[in-house]
Each structure stands twice: as structure tokens, then as C-alpha cells.
């Protein structure tokens, strides 16, 4: 069955520290991969995406993610966290090449708290 697992429900890091949020997926083929961020009471904003090619992708707000096919993972990283990064982060996978179905499968999210 297709699924996305974000093992960490809640992570707390100090401002200025590095961050890694984990995402593992189960999918029949290499899917399209996405990370979204959601601030309280808001919709989701796309941070970055992977379709093909270079397995290290850069996104907005200084985030990057690395696709590892052998581990079925797409972990999100940031070298130095800012207080404004406190939010909920969702990993998602979708059918490759657009597919006839557009539905994404979302993980349950990881809440990031930032200590001053």
C-alpha cells in the first residue's frame, strides 16, 4: 500500500541549530516528492519538490531535501533554524509524470518548535 511516514511527531531545536525532518515513503515506483509547511491557521505552502534528476533539491526559506532511492526517504534539512521556522511540516508523494490521478498522499506531519 502507498504510504508516507513522518516518524517524528514533534521536534524542538534551538534557534541557529541545524534541522533534519525525516520522511519515508512506500510507493510502487519512484514518486514525485514534496515538502509543505503550514503556519497555525493557514493553508499549506510548498517548500520544495522532487520530480527527477539531482537528488538534492533546494527550496524556499533556505530549506533543502535529499532523495535517497535506496532508503525510500526524502528528508528535509536546514543548516540554521530561525524562530520563524516554527510550524507544521508535511511530506507528500504523488504519482510520477503527473499520472492520471492527481491525489497526493500526505504524512501526518511534524511539528517544529524553536527555542530562543
Amino acid at each position: 500500500a502507498q504510504s508516507v511516514t513522518q516518524p517524528d511527531i514533534h521536534i524542538t531545536v534551538s534557534e541557529g541549530a541545524s534541522l533534519e525532518l525525516r520522511c519515508n515513503y512506500s510507493y510502487g515506483a519512484t514518486p514525485y516528492l514534496f515538502w509543505y509547511v503550514q503556519s497555525p491557521g493557514q493553508g499549506l505552502q510548498l517548500l520544495l519538490k522532487y520530480f527527477s534528476g539531482d537528488t538534492l533539491v533546494q527550496g524556499i526559506k533556505g530549506f533543502e531535501a535529499e532523495f535517497k532511492r535506496s532508503q525510500s526517504s526524502f528528508n528535509l534539512r536546514k543548516p540554521s533554524v530561525h524562530w520563524s521556522d516554527a510550524a507544521e511540516y508535511f511530506c507528500a508523494v504523488g504519482a510520477p509524470w503527473g499520472g492520471s490521478q492527481g491525489n497526493l498522499i500526505f504524512g501526518k506531519g511534524t511539528k517544529l518548535s524553536v527555542k530562543p
Binding site: F34, G43, L44, L46, F51, A92, N103, G107, G109
Partner: protein, 111 residues
């Protein structure tokens, strides 16, 4: 500027009222979605549409209904609101690569 809009942003309403949550996008996307999300919780897909006159139920059973008469418009209707419908409702649209763009959400409270 291409975007996706949801109105109202906040709605407090009494039990038994009929409500319609509006969602419009100016990105020319064929695919549109409705998600239900309780605060701090995961997203649940409740409806989706792959184009005009196409609507499907999502993974989470919902008493709401949707319509897709125009490409840019995907309203969600609750015929008789109940307190159990209290939640945040997120609308999204996607293009050829299934990259979804989300609206700001409607926070619904049913008293």
C-alpha cells in the same frame, strides 16, 4: 497574479444551517481538492475533481457535497451543519505534475 482563494476565512454558525464554502483558483488547473483538518492534525481528503462535471469522494467520509460547474470554482456545501463539522477546510488545486497549491483555509465552527 495566479492564486487560490477561499471564503469565508472564518465562519461561526448554528446547528442545522446550510453553508457553502467557496474556493476559486485563477491558475487554470483542472484538478481541485477539499481537505478537512483538525488543528495540529493530519489532512484528510474529502472531495476531489479532475475537471468540470467531475467530482469524487475522498478517503474520509463526509456529509458535505461539492460541485464543479466551472473550471475555476469548486464550492463545498453542508446542507445541515452539526458541531461534528467543526474543523478547518482547505482547498487546493494542481496542474500537470500533481503539485498542489493550497488556499488559506476556512475555519468553521458549528455551535
Amino acid at each position: 497574479e495566479a492564486d487560490i482563494y477561499q471564503t469565508p476565512r472564518y465562519l461561526v454558525i448554528g446547528t442545522g444551517k446550510k453553508i457553502t464554502l467557496e474556493c476559486s483558483q485563477t491558475m487554470g488547473h483542472d484538478k481541485m481538492y477539499w481537505y478537512q483538518q483538525d488543528p495540529g492534525m493530519e489532512l484528510h481528503l474529502i472531495h476531489y475533481s479532475y475537471g468540470v462535471n467531475s467530482t469524487e469522494k475522498g478517503d474520509l467520509s463526509s456529509e458535505s457535497t461539492v460541485s464543479r460547474i466551472r473550471t475555476e470554482h469548486f464550492p463545498l456545501t453542508l446542507e445541515s451543519a452539526r458541531p461534528s463539522h467543526t474543523s478547518q477546510y482547505l482547498c487546493a488545486s494542481s496542474g500537470a505534475y500533481n503539485e498542489q497549491f493550497f488556499g488559506p483555509g476556512t475555519r468553521l465552527t458549528v455551535l
